[in-house]
Amino acid sequence: MSRVLALHLGLVALLLAMHFVLPAYHHGNLARVMVLACYAIGFNILFGYTGLLSLGHALFFAAGMYGMGLAITQLGAAPAPALLAGLIAGLVVAGITGALALRTVGVAFMIVTLMFAQAGYLTILYFGDITHGDEGFVIQPAQRVLWGLDLSDPSWRYLAAWALFSACLIASLALVRHPFGRTLTAIRENEERARLLGYDVALRKWVAVVISGGISALSGAAYGLLFGYAGASFASVQYSIFPLLWVLLGGAGTVLGPFIGTLFMFYLIDLTSGITTAYMLLAGVVLVLLTLFAPQGLVGEVRRRGWGWLP
């Protein structure tokens, strides 16, 4: 128990220390990675722990981003209520789509979530006069001052990203060790048996979708606020595939996996895009190789090869 806590708090402390030592370029990258890792953490709760593969998580990410962004640009909200608006938008969207999509199982669930996300993406394009479609809109630095902290400043931005990531990481650790999280794992392992033991499987799956969607939305809202931009590309299929890629690479069903996967993939794509515009080729190759040779991911492999106590 204590070594688990020590490992995760150690990572949190290490990331805080990085704030003081990293050069500007990597400092900025790591801030991005931490916010995106929250998205992966949200995805992992549904995919890794509950065993439900959604191909439409960009819907929740974008719901958070646009809930936040439109609250600022259309209603003139302050950042804190705007973040809350993004979170609520994500929870509502996840609640509704989850209730519908969970009536299906397996491949149909994937396609239904994919279709909902596609409808969401097209809806953003359809309301182009307020969302500006693919071009997106910029959130001005003056509108990004949260409690007196200017989030357009790289330092505060990093610290805000760090605070959000730490909260999400610890929350996900607490969730999977909580009895509720354990029943989610039980559902993943054997849904029939979980039902037989008297758990309300349908309700628990729905709550998992809502928690997962909520964290993803929070990450989307924070991403828009910290980096000052919201665009329809964040709602596209590609952004539904990214968290799957990160979580698979890092290790589905591990608490650290989402961060490790996001970090590795971010730098792999960063390096490749310096060489060619076809950087998504790498994402494709990694996906195929992972399904073929390492379905457990990096942290999953570490857990399998000795560190069995990793949560």
Binding site: R103, A119, L281, V286
Partner: protein, 308 residues
């Protein structure tokens, strides 16, 4: 100007789209029906068909018709071979597990798409149609002298578009014959019904799977070769056919070929007619939501019967 001629025109355009869509969606449906896997890379096989068509046509001199005919035969074969190779190297190794297959074909999607971007480039390139005579569409009008035939201005189609429809019908008829009248069709249907029993009767199920995967991709490529003289070849062109094929296959009932063809006609025609009156984006939103709700509330498809 009356609405009538425009509706005729929209119906004809819709019929061309329905023809291409029927071919693409039948490929997806065949793969799902026999192998029980969803091929997310299907749209990229469509795109590869168009790109190979351009490549073949630009390497064969002489009249444009020769290049087109060569593309029509060679492009689906090349794409089918690529797909069969992907099946043997990737899908077979993960034992056609439905969820892992989706992840693997997503990877395949990006590999094919981005490899095309690296080699073929980001430009859209046309293939010349072998023939392209303009056919004006007549319309009847009541004049003082009685019903009279006239040709409204701007309402016309081309002979090539009519050829696309005829070719799609011919190919689909051929596919129907292949599935119902030949030995290989029998093997495919046997594998579809019961994989283990087929294996027990000595059917080389793995080879059937590779063939079906290649055949499905080949159908998509064939549809793309037919459409490329109308639409240009581009590395991102696989996205819309994939989405529309999904819609068609789901509405038609997963894995049922007659249902798929019926749904392709329905979707092709309504999409084109709805686009006359509403914004195409709104039409797409409604179509995707319809598909999601069909899967939620009527998973056997609108035309399917509840399977056991």
């Amino acid at each position: 100007m009356e609405l009538g001629p425009y509706l005729v025109l929209a119906t004809l355009e819709g019929a061309v789209m329905a023809a291409v869509l029927a071919l693409t969606a039948c490929g997806l449906s065949l793969v799902f029906g026999v192998m029980r896997v969803v091929n997310v890379a299907h749209g990229e096989f469509f795109m590869l068909g168009a790109v190979f068509a351009w490549w073949i046509a630009s390497h064969i001199g002489g009249a444009p018709a020769w290049g087109f005919v060569a593309a029509l035969i060679l492009a689906p074969l090349i794409v089918g071979a690529i797909a069969a190779a992907a099946d043997m190297t990737v899908l077979r190794r993960i034992d056609y597990d439905p969820e892992r297959t989706i992840v693997a074909t997503i990877g395949l999607l990006y590999i094919l798409q981005q490899a095309t971007l690296m080699t073929y480039g980001p430009d859209a390139r046309p293939v010349e149609a072998p023939f392209n005579t303009r056919i004006a569409i007549p319309w009847v009008e009541w004049t003082e002298a009685g019903w009279a035939l006239y040709w409204p201005w701007g309402v016309a189609t081309t002979s090539y578009k009519m050829f696309v429809i005829a070719a799609a019908v011919a190919v689909l008829a051929g596919l129907w014959g292949l599935m119902t009248r030949t030995r290989i069709g029998l093997l495919m249907r046997a594998t579809q019904l019961d994989r283990d029993m087929a294996l027990a009767f000595g059917i080389p199920v793995e080879r059937v799977y590779a063939l079906v995967f290649g055949l499905g991709a080949g159908l998509a490529a064939l549809a793309a070769v037919l459409i490329v003289p109308i639409q240009q070849a581009h590395y991102l062109m696989g996205h819309d056919p994939l989405l529309l094929s999904f819609i068609v296959v789901i509405i038609g009932g997963l894995g049922s070929l007659p249902g798929t063809i019926l749904a392709a006609i329905l979707i092709g025609l309504t999409d084109s007619l709805v686009s006359v009156f509403f914004s195409p984006t709104l039409a797409k939103i409604l179509a995707t939501l319809l598909v999601a709700l069909v899967l939620v509330f009527r998973p056997q498809g609108l035309f399917g019967s509840r399977a056991s």
